[in-house]
Symmetry: C2
């Protein structure tokens, strides 16, 4: 299923699969959330394409563009990525002149990752388009839901799992 971000979302008006929306799982919040996420990923990916950014690079760039000066370890934990994946993402941004590593003065084992001016600028431009696409996507929700959807998601996103 599109329970990941690797698939392009199309509407259930695609004739051959419309009828399967009548089955029970299409009432499951988990299914709907996965589906909505897939649509969101596809839309975001499309918007970021012209900036040469992928969703993960965009997210990492956004964090470091906020002058947070995170260590790679912090990025890894926050983004829920393996440290070796952070290495690759930072390498890529560094190669493009959008971010760089600096030695962390508090701990010689660590780097902090900082955005360059070019990185800050690119992020701002990309974010403008991302937010525009989001607004368009959310536009048809009832107003009182739309205004609180982000907050609801944030609350759900920060609920501990049942481990």
């Amino acid at each position: 299923m599109a329970l990941d971000s690797s698939t392009t979302a199309v509407s259930p008006s695609a004739a051959s699969s419309t009828r399967l929306w009548d089955s029970a799982i299409s009432d499951d919040v988990s299914f709907l959330l996965a589906r909505a996420n897939a649509v969101s990923m596809a839309r975001t990916r499309q918007v970021l394409g012209p900036f040469g950014l992928k969703v993960r690079s965009y997210a990492l760039l956004g964090i470091v563009a906020a002058d947070t000066r995170p260590s790679q370890r912090e990025l890894s934990e926050f983004l829920r990525l393996d440290p070796s994946q952070i290495v690759s993402l930072v390498d890529e941004l560094q190669t493009r002149g959008l971010a760089r590593r600096e030695p962390d003065p508090r701990d010689r084992r660590a780097n902090v990752v900082v955005a360059t001016d070019a990185g800050v600028t690119l992020f701002a431009e990309a974010r403008e388009q991302v937010l525009r696409a989001e607004s368009a996507w959310l536009a048809d929700l009832p107003r009182e839901i739309r205004d609180r959807f982000g907050r609801a998601l944030a609350q759900l996103a920060t609920t501990e799992d049942d481990s």
Copy 2:
């Protein structure tokens, strides 16, 4: 990031990464949606574990348990999976006696996938637990949001992407 279903979600109260929630991207609906989806996946996975089901098998079983008699092609399109992935999932359910293939009388190239009685029963039991976990997860949302969250997600999930 947890922009996929492969990661266990933990709260931002995990001390070392709390401060990164202050960056811009944590306002992005796409980021929050991905995060909420990751939590949802983790919770669903945990609930389905004791039934020996994974999220995708559960979804597929749910569709065929609804007496929809879908072809594999229809399942592939609906769930946004490659046909070869449907083969594996159906194989697995078939091996466990939860579903089976039948020749499609309308088209000899095709099979329809049907749930067995055991499959229908297992799905019902699993679904009960999935819905219970969902209710618990959504419980702290404001009432007027909680009552309409699923519908909002369904609307978003069925919006065409900008392709």
